[in-house]
């Protein structure tokens, strides 16, 4: 565990060490890391358990024309989410894993949003009344709730990228300080 690791950039949980506020902040960041990681492990495994169903759902977005690319997205993306989720839960390469998940979340939120607009136009119903299985691993959901959830997840991810979530990390960073400067 790396609860007293030296500061690395912005690490607010260490700044006020000793105070209850700093501890609460650090524990909140750990909870965020476990929540984000655990959620991606769960939804990733849900999709990986039935890749054919996920393949059909991804196809509805009409993202790619190539069968190989479509299969690659549907076959590999769930396991990629599981991988990144496990990194967050265990506290390995926390900022990199959070950045990778945010990098997946943002474009997929955009395509889910676009799909909802198409369904809204086709059904002639209010936007927030649109309900469909977006392939997010949680079955049929109302779009507004889904967008809010994804927005919150992106914020959590950005918080972790900013340097939180170090407490109880197994190996917070896998890149030596000299690299990437």
């Amino acid at each position: 565990m790396n609860g007293v690791a030296p500061r690395d950039g912005v690490a607010p949980e260490v700044a006020g060490a000793g105070s209850w506020r700093a501890n609460a902040f650090a524990l909140g960041a750990v909870a965020a890391r476990w929540l984000l990681g655990g959620l991606f492990v769960y939804t990733g495994l849900e999709k990986a358990a039935d890749p054919v169903a996920f393949l059909k759902l991804v196809r509805q977005y009409d993202l790619v024309q190539s069968a190989y690319l479509l299969n690659a997205i549907a076959g590999a993306l769930p396991w990629f989410e599981v991988f990144c989720g496990l990194l967050l839960v265990t506290g390995v390469a926390v900022r990199g894993a959070a950045a990778a998940l945010v990098g997946v979340l943002i474009p997929f939120t955009a395509v889910v949003w676009h799909r909802a607009l198409v369904l809204q136009a086709a059904r002639g119903i209010p936007f927030c009344a649109v309900k469909f299985n977006c392939g997010c691993g949680t079955g049929e959901v109302f779009i507004c709730g889904k967008l809010l959830e994804n927005f919150a997840l992106v914020l959590l991810g950005v918080w972790l990228i900013a340097g939180c979530g170090r407490k109880w990390s197994w190996r917070y960073s896998v890149i030596p300080p000299a690299a990437g400067k």
Partner: protein, 205 residues
């Protein structure tokens, strides 16, 4: 910032390697090289077989959704069937003689939960386990009716195209567009479990 990007890139590469390996090792993993949604492109629209049942145009025209399904099936070079036509084939004496064959394309779990009595199972996403059992009866049959859940479900189209690619003549391949949902909605016979299993006699829902 550069360090974070470098770490994110490292995670992305390692994650992609893990993901593709997991997909490859998983018994349910996808075959990346396979086209799971064949369009049937290149095949001309099938002409109705002389022995095929006459189309029930009123039923088709009254329901735009059914018409869309029929058009989708035709666009793939396959021949659509409506419920009345399918029912007629189901009650045709040739069905018992194996000259008319029904194929269920919904997957193993759905098949065991309930299927049209006598239908063979062919999961178009995992055809290897079923194809050997289905191909011989289809070769003998003069008409093969493939169905899935119905509606937007295109698994019956995919299964029919698999059969066509395996050598079954396009002229004797039909897709029941309404599918199993339409079948059960009209309280038609349903069997459970394995095909013709003595433990799962045909029953009406």
């Amino acid at each position: 910032m550069g360090r974070i990007l470098l770490e994110a890139a490292s995670v992305a590469v390692a994650g992609a390697a893990f993901a593709f390996a997991a997909n490859e090792l998983s018994p349910r993993g996808l075959d990346l090289a396979r086209n799971y949604f064949p369009s049937g492109a290149g095949s001309s629209v099938a002409r109705p077989n002389a022995s095929a049942p006459a189309p029930v145009t009123t039923a088709t025209n009254e329901n735009s959704a059914a018409a869309e399904i029929d058009q989708r099936v035709r666009d793939k070079g396959l021949q659509p069937l409506d419920r009345l036509q399918t029912e007629r084939l189901f009650h045709d004496p040739r069905y018992d003689d194996g000259l008319i064959v029904f194929v269920d394309a919904r997957g193993e779990d759905d098949y065991h939960d309930g299927h049209i009595p006598g239908a063979y199972e062919l999961d178009p996403f995992h055809p290897d386990k079923d194809m050997a059992n289905v191909l011989a009866p289809c070769q003998i049959a003069v008409q093969v009716v493939v169905y899935c859940t119905g509606g937007d479900c295109e698994d019956a189209d995919s299964a029919a195209l698999l059969l066509r690619d395996a050598g079954i003549s396009r002229e004797k391949l039909f897709v029941y567009g309404g599918g199993f949902t339409d079948w059960t909605d009209h309280h038609l016979p349903v069997a459970r479990g394995e095909r013709n299993s003595p433990a799962a006699p045909a029953q009406t829902k």
